[in-house]
């Protein structure tokens, strides 16, 4: 590999690392906001013992736990996962020419994907959550593709 090809490759690898680090931050933020949505709605309906567990080593899972009275609307508790995530995602769309605006699709898609259990709780079937999961995955792939393309475009201009 000649010198210029090597430096190009380094540039691409550093871009890959950058995109991965950005994504880890966004995933972390989305998971926290997703759970915070459940937490806030639960708190609003005066549920007790509300806990956000980012990682439970016993069950290898992430969840929000709460004890609510039977008349608490399950629909709103489950939909709480969108409460902060949607505005968070929409905020990225304000970044007009910034490649990071495509994180909006990634965040929405990721939220749908991890919200499989919430939607299953609501619909009591697995078909609808499965479909939303597929839509979520699709949004993630589209968002990431656009993001990577935009960053590659910036690198291309530099080369």
């Amino acid at each position: 590999m000649n010198e210029s090809a090597e430096s190009e490759m380094k540039l691409y690898l550093s871009l890959l690392l950058f995109v991965i680090l950005l994504n880890i931050s966004i995933v972390l933020a989305t998971v926290v906001l997703h759970e915070a949505g459940h937490f806030t709605v639960g708190n609003y309906f005066e549920c007790d013992d509300i806990k956000i567990v980012l990682y439970d080593a016993d069950t290898s899972s992430t969840y929000t736990q709460m004890s609510c009275s039977p008349d608490t609307p399950l629909l709103l508790l489950a939909l709480g996962c969108f409460l902060f995530v949607v505005p968070f995602a929409m905020a990225f769309l304000i970044l007009k020419d910034n490649p990071m605006r495509h994180f909006a699709w990634v965040i929405l898609g990721f939220n749908l994907l991890i919200g499989f259990g919430d939607i299953e709780l609501l619909t009591k079937t697995s078909i609808i959550p499965f479909i939303t999961g597929i839509i979520g995955l699709f949004l993630i792939v589209v968002g990431e593709s656009l993001l990577i393309n935009k960053y590659l475009l910036l690198i291309e201009k530099r080369l």
Partner: protein, 197 residues
């Protein structure tokens, strides 16, 4: 009540990193995959206004092998034609550069080993005004400098006589082809081959 997520937090990170790695590798692969021949083979770039038939002409001139290559910044269709002795690459830059032809994207074209430029004029009634097309041609001449530029009037089967007359007055050595009737294509290809050593 438990609102459990589909994936645990670490699993989500692993999932997302995997998706990025796959997408990124694929995009990078498509970049590296640009055949070396793209920049080394003698090339003929086909330029012209929208709907002048650039893509169709490239397919007609080199019907056997068609490639398309897409990259973050550019999309390009090209076809290689061989007469058994020489190979020529016809490049359709319709999607090559974002936006219109300017100094910056002409530099991209100049990376190609181009020997000739074919400039298409659409002389059908509904096309862009011929004066505008001639301005585009002159701009191309300025941007590319000294190059074997072949002006070609297309859509001869639906020609606007006024446009053709004006074109003949303003541009010398204009060739006429009809992609629909496939008139003048062989002679155009032969003259392109003749321009390549």
């Amino acid at each position: 009540m438990l609102f459990e997520e589909t994936f645990s937090f670490p699993a989500s990170i692993i999932l997302m990193v995997s998706i990025i790695a796959i997408l990124f590798s694929w995009r990078l692969y498509s970049f590296i995959r640009i055949p070396k021949s793209l920049y080394s083979l003698p090339s003929v770039i086909v330029l012209g206004p929208r709907t002048s038939g650039k893509t169709t002409l490239v397919k007609e001139l080199a019907p056997n092998i068609n490639f398309s290559f897409s990259h973050a910044t550019k999309k390009l269709g090209y076809s290689i034609y061989s007469d058994g002795k020489k190979k020529v690459q016809f490049v359709d830059p319709e999607k090559f550069s974002l936006g219109k032809l300017n100094r910056e994207n002409v530099e991209e074209f100049k990376k190609l080993n181009y020997k000739s430029l074919i400039y298409l004029f659409n002389i059908s009634p509904g096309s862009e005004p011929i004066e505008k097309q001639i301005r585009g041609f002159k701009k191309t001449m300025r941007l590319f400098g000294r190059v074997n530029l072949i002006p070609v009037a297309t859509k001869l089967d639906r020609e606007d006589k006024r446009k053709l007359k004006k074109l003949k007055q303003m541009v010398k050595n204009i060739r006429k082809i009809s992609l629909h009737r496939k008139d003048g294509l062989v002679s155009l290809r032969n003259s392109v081959f003749a321009s390549i050593e």
